[in-house]
Amino acid sequence: MSTILEVKNLAKIYEIGYIRKRQIVAVDKVSFSVKKGEIISLVGESGSGKTTTARMILRLIKPTSGVIKFMGRDIWRDLRGGSDLRWYWRNVNGVFQDPFSSFNPTHRIRDFMYRAFNLFNEKLDRDTKERLVREALQMVGLIPDEVLNRRPFELSGGMRQRVMIARIFLIRPMLVIADEPTSMIDATLRLGILRLFSKLREEIGTTIMFITHDMGLAYYISDRIMVMYRGKIIEEGTPDEIVNNPKHEYTRNLLDSIPKLYTSWFK
């Protein structure tokens, strides 16, 4: 398998305060690579720097230092101008955590979906666009006529998250960064959403990077897990390696603190 994303010594340092400058290291010289077609999870608690890392890969936050290379191109140095950026986002896109704030409340679902055509180089006529949007919505189990003309607040959180994934089915990127895509969704709907990501890989061959605090979720869905703590990746391995044989003390503590369904701490 070939490497499609390579991250080297990536760091993000925030400076706060005006008189007395204090530095906050959100991401501390992180290096890793992602192979084509794999599902990889970046697991960490709040403040671990996982979301900042994701945003830098999505080219939404500029890193303080380090290199992110996608298909051999340094995304912060080699991409210039609108068409390069559109090429990048056509190939690398994201799904966010909050299905409520990820939609402009004044737009209809159709507007939300159609906007992604900005990324397309090919000129499509109105009918083709409509057909592609409908196909994408059907892929995630939505009925196009029921959602296309709705506004986001008329849909449930689960449906909105499906729309967000339908957008990915429409764009068909090579790499998807999914930042806590199920954490605000009810338990009984969560598996359905996760299945959609598996489907994405099966049908389009998408490489998926999950950003999550939930080790349980990472355990099921990933080929490989990276554990992030205080801005650093402290451990990396297959799900079984991480869960059954954690090397780092933090990972061990984290696994101990996860409540299990079939055992109790107090009995």
Binding site: A187, R190, H213, Y262, F266
Partner: protein, 326 residues
């Protein structure tokens, strides 16, 4: 054995312009002494509303529509609400609402906040209340210095533990905790759960009602689990039995949707899928069993008639026609 709280056909609706949201709709729940009852369900199933109703926290549009609440043998729904609230607040039922600590004024020190809250309920002098709080903090392993701090100086886990100390200061009969751990990182969750369990072990509260969407969390400490769906209780039974062998199709679906890093769970997830559909609107709930549109076992009777709550095994109650027929 007496019940700490008993509800009979309790109904509480949110009266909105577009209709009434039947968030608690015919709930029969008995909580005995020395029980930790976990109430689980998804968002919008009425579990938080149930906690507010039991604490007699009726802020419009929430309204008690019918049924009885019996607290320590006394029917509190037969006397005026304000009178009833005075009688139960803090001493009989103590509620920790969801994200409670975010609601307090950041410029009040923890001890002043505690003194204000408890003084209003009991009229005790402030010094006495602060002394009580200091003692209680030591008992449950909180550093007494936290009393002199401001809420924003405390970590999320510490705040929840302070709230637990405050809620049990008057040794209530029932402590209701609404999602006390869901906003916290897993490592702090365990600490808060331990505090909650210790409060129970030490007898600082007779019983606990723990409300959450996360079965894996609540099963750690609950002695009994109650599953709610669309405003109703669908299953009620001892924790271990219910976890290992859920009866109601919804309880099964809920259990199967849990993802924890455990071998049993992984094996199961690979075999089963989630359930289709979403919880119904509580303004116009479906007739019959409210779960029938999503239920893989739905029969004709499920679409017509509401299933009765029956005792299938000793202590195990379920409201489902699959079991009622026997």
């Amino acid at each position: 054995m007496g019940y700490v709280v008993e509800t009979i056909d309790l109904r509480a609706y949110y009266m909105l312009r577009r209709g009434s949201v039947k968030a608690v709709d015919g709930v029969n729940l008995k909580i005995g002494e020395r029980e930790i009852v976990g109430v689980v369900g998804e968002s919008g199933c009425g579990k938080s509303t149930l906690s507010r109703v039991l604490a007699l926290d009726f802020i419009p549009p929430l309204k008690l529509v019918g049924g009885k609440i019996i607290i320590d043998g006394e029917d509190v729904t037969s006397i005026p609400i304000s009178e009833a609230r005075k009688r139960i607040a803090g001493t009989k039922i103590s509620l920790i609402p969801q994200s409670a600590m975010n609601a307090i004024i950041p410029v009040t020190r923890v001890k002043d906040y505690i003194a204000d809250v408890v003084k209003e309920k009991t009229g005790l002098p402030r010094e006495k209340i602060v002394d009580m709080a200091r003692k209680r903090f030591e008992e449950i392993g909180l550093p007494p210095i936290a009393l002199d701090m401001y809420p924003f100086e405390l970590s999320g886990g510490m705040r929840q533990r302070v709230l637990i100390a405050l809620a049990t200061l008057l040794n209530p009969s029932l402590l209701i905790a609404d999602e006390p751990t869901s906003a916290l990182d897993v490592s702090t969750q365990k600490m808060v759960l331990t505090t909650l369990y210790n409060v129970f072990k030490m007898g600082l509260t007779k019983s606990i009602m723990f409300i959450t969407h996360d079965i894996a969390t609540v099963r750690q400490i609950a002695t009994r689990i109650v599953v709610m769906y669309a405003g109703k209780i669908v299953e009620d039974g001892p924790t271990e039995d219910l976890i290992h062998n859920p009866f109601h199709p919804y309880s099964k679906a809920l259990m199967f949707s849990i993802l924890t890093p455990e071998p049993e769970v992984r094996k199961r997830v690979e075999q089963t899928g989630g359930i289709a559909g979403e919880p119904p609107s509580l303004i116009n709930p479906p007739p019959g069993c409210r779960f029938h549109p999503r239920c893989p076992y739905a029969m004709d009777v499920c679409r017509r008639e509401e299933p009765p709550m029956i005792e299938v095994e000793k202590g195990r109650f379920v409201a489902c026609w699959l079991y009622a027929k026997k």
